[in-house]
């Protein structure tokens, strides 16, 4: 008995010990800030090509040096790492945060209010929808880096060979899915990712849903609006009829299916162009991109992820940090270095830099298609009404849990509608627990 007890205690001990250690380090670190000597900033992120962009910054600047450290992507553990570091007081000056999670970090008090440094000139350079997503409670909390409109990637060779038309509407998508399956019983033109609610949310967003809204100082959650119901029923139907695959996003199973031709389409975002290129180098020339299907044929898109650069609460160099973040988002050299790294197809939130990114992006993989022109159209069609709530990690964790039950890789028992309802209920509970007001529930 004592052995097992000590195991439990060891867990506490380890946790406590680590906390103590990090606290100690925090007290020891930091040091004097100020004007004398060059400022060294630390930066945690994971987006492709960041290292190359940081190197370009360091090469061009003498007064500020940036140390970049690559961390796991947000939902794969990066966010936990950041918030623990902030809590322990040893966080870097700058961190990458995606739009959906930014309000969560703001509400925890983990990032700094950078309103004084976000000048009107800087704002003017950026996509208005992106600026809006980083403006919460009338203050600015991060510098938008990219916009991530949803687009549809498909295997052009497969679609041509079987004379399947590239879907323009969701009805077309269903028809095309059935046709693809008929042509090749193994082939599916899309995937449902039970582990990735953001793809689903992007589609609800596109359909005109607005899950999180505010009125006065109260939150208003609505996930049972007609748009969400439409999207939910549509995907439930695709799943029921076996018209899409179910895979964990970016898992070996998904990659394997893409490689073997079992999956011939991908509902991704602008950054997905680089991911496909990096994941499936031998399918160069076989892929093409199209606008994401819409409900009525008129262009519309949601955003799937997209990252910002935020300054952490404890940073002593907020001014320099925002200058660096602004440089990363708006300097041509930064975007050129990043996209030229090969695996990045970042679509800058800074509108003036799009030609730079387009030029730096090697389009041979897409048979010379001007994918950036496509991103332009998609970004312009992003519905500006959507905003994220301050408890997105609760929303998304619950959705992920429930999607796993309702439509997991091992088959499901339950409905997507129940999953969405559970996600909304959990979010309301979490907001109330934090002492926030939620209306009409």
């Amino acid at each position: 008995m004592s052995t097992s007890w000590s195991r439990r205690r060891t867990t506490y001990a380890l946790a406590g010990g680590l906390t103590a250690l990090t606290l100690l380090t925090a007290c020891g670190g930091g040091g004097a800030a100020g004007s004398e000597g060059p400022v060294t900033l630390t930066y945690w992120g994971w987006t492709k090509g960041t290292k190359q962009a940081v190197d370009a910054f360091n090469a061009a600047h003498r007064d500020t040096k940036v140390r970049f450290e690559e961390i796991p992507s947000g939902t794969a553990g990066g966010y936990a790492k950041i918030s623990n570091a902030v809590r322990a007081g040893n966080a870097p000056d700058l961190v990458s945060i995606e739009y959906p999670t930014l309000p969560e970090f703001v509400s925890q008090g983990a990032v700094k209010d950078i309103t004084p440094y976000v000048t009107p000139e800087l704002k003017k350079k950026l996509l208005p929808q992106a600026v809006q997503l980083t403006t919460l409670g009338g203050r600015n909390w991060a510098v938008p880096f990219d916009a991530a409109p949803q687009v549809y990637y498909y295997r052009k060779d497969f679609f041509t060979r079987h004379k399947i038309e590239v879907p323009r509407t969701w009805d077309d998508f269903r028809t095309a899915a059935a046709a693809a399956r008929k042509a090749d019983p193994k082939a599916r033109i899309g995937t449902f990712f039970p582990d990735d609610p953001t793809t689903f949310e992007a589609m609800a967003w596109q359909a005109g849903a607005r899950w999180f809204a505010t009125q006065g100082d109260s939150w208003k959650l609505d996930t049972t609006d007609p748009a969400t119901r439409k999207v939910t029923a549509y995907w439930q139907g695709l799943l029921k009829d076996g018209l899409v695959h179910t895979h964990v996003s970016f898992s070996p199973a998904w990659t394997n299916s893409l490689r073997s031709g079992g999956t011939v389409g991908y509902l991704g975002a602008s950054w997905g162009a680089g991911v496909l290129k990096g994941t499936l180098p031998d399918q160069s020339g076989a892929w093409a991109a199209a606008p994401v299907p819409t409900w009525n044929g008129r262009p519309a898109s949601g955003m799937l992820g997209g990252s910002t650069t935020a300054v952490t609460k404890g940073s002593r160099h907020a001014g320099a940090a925002v200058r660096f973040a602004a440089w990363m988002s708006t300097a041509p050299e930064a975007v050129r270095a990043r996209v030229a790294s090969g695996e990045s197809s970042a679509y800058p939130a800074a509108t003036a830099l799009r030609p730079v990114a387009r030029q730096a992006f090697d389009t041979r993989y897409y048979g010379g298609q001007d994918v950036y022109a496509l991103f332009d159209a998609a970004a312009a069609s992003v519905n500006g009404d959507w905003g994220w709530g301050p408890a997105t990690s609760t929303t998304n964790t619950t959705l992920k849990d429930e999607f796993g039950k309702a439509a997991g890789t091992g088959g499901g028992a339950g409905s997507l509608a129940d999953a969405v309802r559970a996600g909304s209920d959990a979010t309301v509970r979490e907001l109330r627990r934090r002492g926030l007001k939620v209306m009409g529930r």
Binding site: R8, R87, G404, G410, L436
Partner: protein
């Protein structure tokens, strides 16, 4: 203070110093954390302030069906896993110990080998073997007409039990086998001379003699099961399965702390889990103590010194200890 007392103090101080620093203080810190919660105001964008909430986190955890469901999952897990583990390990050990066994060393090693694989790696291997359209096992089963969704809501529990069995069966088999090796051969010879067959020897002679190891393995397994974490976490994060992020109480605490930044709730649920483990181990010790005592009466002739020792008050005197120490709490 005489020299003996001084020596005792000198020898004990390092232990108690470490004990306080790495055990008492962190547990106290966890209890302290569990008494506070973080509140926000307005729309929540003004940061947080910490307020004392008394037992608020405890009632929140107990009131959350996800936390309570975690205990139900554990109950189901124990009900499925413990009988299978004990029966399987015992059968293998008895087979190895019987006269029928060949290549004992080889089987001992082969059966123990999975235990040398770290839990995370084991879980990752099994996720691969469970994933439809990726796993050769699932493909083979489907072509044989034996479709089973390992990652579905009904398949998740057996899948986790299977991983745990794979990891721990050989380990516990070694414990039982070692205990069997310690059984006095003359007792077995006497039983054989009296006409007992192999089956009778196993059930009527060997089993009662290793009852204390059985009780010990049962105890460790029960407590270890309460802390079920690694395998389901991998199944949750990497497979898109029906295993949720709060599938077991330990995962609930983990998600509260690292997913939602709710350290108070995480601390409270950890303390509750620790209390549950303490209660359970108390009852299992009492129970196994009783059975060990009744089991010992049969062999008091072999251990006159033990039988005539002072009566154990509350704490049972164990039978012959298996030669292999149990280094971990998670069999």
């Amino acid at each position: 203070m005489n020299a003996k007392a001084r020596a005792a103090v000198v020898l004990l101080v390092p232990f108690f110093a470490l004990f306080v620093v790495v055990m008492v203080v962190p547990i106290g810190y966890a209890v302290w954390l569990s008494l506070f919660t973080e509140q926000q105001s307005g729309l929540g964008f003004g940061g947080t302030h910490t307020v004392f909430s008394g037992l608020g986190n405890y009632t929140a955890a107990l009131g959350d069906h996800a936390f309570r469901d975690g205990f139900l999952v554990l109950l189901g897990y124990c009900a499925l896993y413990i009988p299978l583990l004990l029966a399987g390990a015992l059968t293998l050990a008895l087979l190895l110990d019987s006269a029928l066994a060949r290549a004992r060393r080889f089987f001992q090693l082969a059966l123990f080998l999975p235990h040398a694989v770290p839990g995370i790696i084991a879980a990752l291997i099994w996720v691969y073997l469970y994933t439809p359209r990726l796993s050769p096992v699932v493909a083979a089963m489907e072509s044989g007409g034996l479709g089973f969704d390992f990652l579905s809501p009904s398949g998740a529990l057996p899948s986790v039990v299977n991983i745990a069995l794979w990891e721990w069966l050989g380990y516990n088999m070694v414990i039982f086998y070692a205990a069997l090796q310690a059984v006095d051969r003359s007792v077995i010879e006497a039983a054989t001379v009296d006409g007992a067959g192999a089956w009778r020897v196993a059930t009527a002679v060997k089993l009662p003699l290793i009852r204390s190891s059985l009780a010990m393995v049962a105890l460790f397994t029960v407590i270890g099961s309460l802390q079920l974490f690694t395998e389901p976490l991998i199944l949750n994060q990497g497979s898109g399965s029906a295993v949720t992020s709060s599938w077991t109480p330990n995962m609930y605490a983990y998600t509260a702390a690292f997913g939602r930044n709710d350290y108070g709730l995480a601390a409270a649920s950890s303390v509750l889990l620790a209390l549950a483990a303490a209660l359970l181990s108390f009852f299992v010790t009492r129970l196994s103590g009783r059975s060990a005592r009744s089991g010992r009466s049969g062999r008091s002739g072999r251990h006159p010194s033990r039988a005539s020792g002072p009566p154990a008050a509350g704490r049972p005197v164990r039978g012959p200890r298996p030669p292999l120490a149990h280094p971990e709490g998670r069999p």
